[in-house]
Subunit: 210 residues, 2 copies
DNA sequence: ACCCACCCGTGACAAATGTCAGCGCGACGA
DNA sequence: TCGTCGCGCTGACATTTGTCACGGGTGGGT
């Protein structure tokens, strides 16, 4: 447990989550803490920087899964513009790759949505104090599953192939030759250890490479 | 707005959601309402019936996505054992098929996670009062996208094909001939209007047929 | 008794997919 | 400068996938 601050001013918080219900609920949860103060709520990554500029929070709580700019990109944008704002990432999925990318983007912490509610406020306080907060199990896992082995193009193609589109459609969408698409897919399949595209997609998604 | 009850006893609530953080946050949010009382929280569908038996809530708030028994199955189980307990389904995805199946299972309401937080308490009150609560947009959509056109076996095969397994693997897993697997897949592809398995999977998932 | 839908299987065919070798180009570091 | 790597392209090949026609079996309705 982090020692409760005695008489400092409250920690100013910004919440970003596309699901209004979750956002509101988190707000209610954190507002119960006397030393925390939710000063802004936004529903997409694009709004984060503007909201930070306007409300000057100490800590930004960002969801990874958001429309428009995702949590990772938003992290980078915030850190670039306001280096003293700490970022704490919250997410549904404990994808190893996400942790790594979030940290590289300048996040101070990473919390999965199935950690106990009581720990969230504590994580916020730790982050505000300059500490790093990462679920230990997730941290070790993210060391094992390293950087994405996929090249930029392979990632593009694989991402475009998620919905189950045919090679011809992918080629049109990406302005590539069909042969090239198949080569990239083949490379991605090889690197992921999969037996076909669909499996490659699930493996890559599971590792946070997409 | 539903008229606030003046001097009745509070509505007893049960919360079921596998993500502890969300569960705790919802609990905090709903506990702010004077006429609501969260009397139990569980993290999986299997625990729901037992918790209902023990705590006798008026309303059960169930997430659809849960390990073990999902929210729909849990709804049916609760309604069978305790007919006067109302069920309100909460979910991330507004899959049309989910709404239909939830209602058929005996749910009284269906709320998507991106509705404003302020409306949740109201939805609970309405459900408790015996009314049905469904997002209007979702309701009309769920009328259009009707019952799943897939047969039991087709659903099995398509579900097994989600990860991207090859026909040979599916055949082994389901104890079927490879030809039969391909026939079922072909039927599913035709019925979903897809061009291949992967697309059929995404379409079926999008409609809540899996 | 009949029809019908579903299930499981076979066999054969066309199309899509995955693999491989090889080519040129540009960028980047040694 | 050279070697390496990513990128894009081609062409050829084996395998997988999707489709279709067909048959047999079961069980539920009318």
């Amino acid at each position: 447990m982090t020692p409760e601050p005695e008489e400092t001013r409250p920690i100013r918080l910004l919440l970003a989550d596309d699901q209004a219900l979750v956002r509101g609920a988190l707000s209610a949860l954190l507002s119960l803490e006397r030393d925390l103060d939710v000063v802004a709520e936004v529903s997409s990554g694009d709004q984060v920087v503007a909201a930070v500029r306007e409300h000057r929070p100490d800590v930004a709580l960002l969801d990874v899964e958001m429309p428009g700019m995702d949590g990772i990109e938003a992290t980078a944008a915030v850190r670039a513009a306001f280096p003293d704002v700490r970022v704490l990432i919250v997410t549904t999925f404990g994808r190893p790759g996400f942790v790594r990318r979030a940290m590289q983007a300048g996040a101070s912490g990473f919390v999965v949505k199935d950690t106990p509610a009581a720990q969230l406020a504590d994580a916020v306080r730790r982050v505000h104090a300059g500490l790093r907060v990462v679920d230990p199990a997730l941290a070790t896992e993210s060391l094992f599953a390293g950087e994405s082995p996929l090249t930029a193009r392979e990632t593009d193609v694989l991402r475009a192939a998620r919905g189950g589109a045919a090679v011809s459609a992918l080629a049109r969408a990406l302005f590539l030759s069909e042969g090239t698409v198949r080569n990239h897919l083949s490379a991605a399949i090889g690197k992921t250890g999969a037996g076909n595209r669909a499996e490659a997609v699930t493996i890559a998604e599971g590792n946070g490479w997409l």
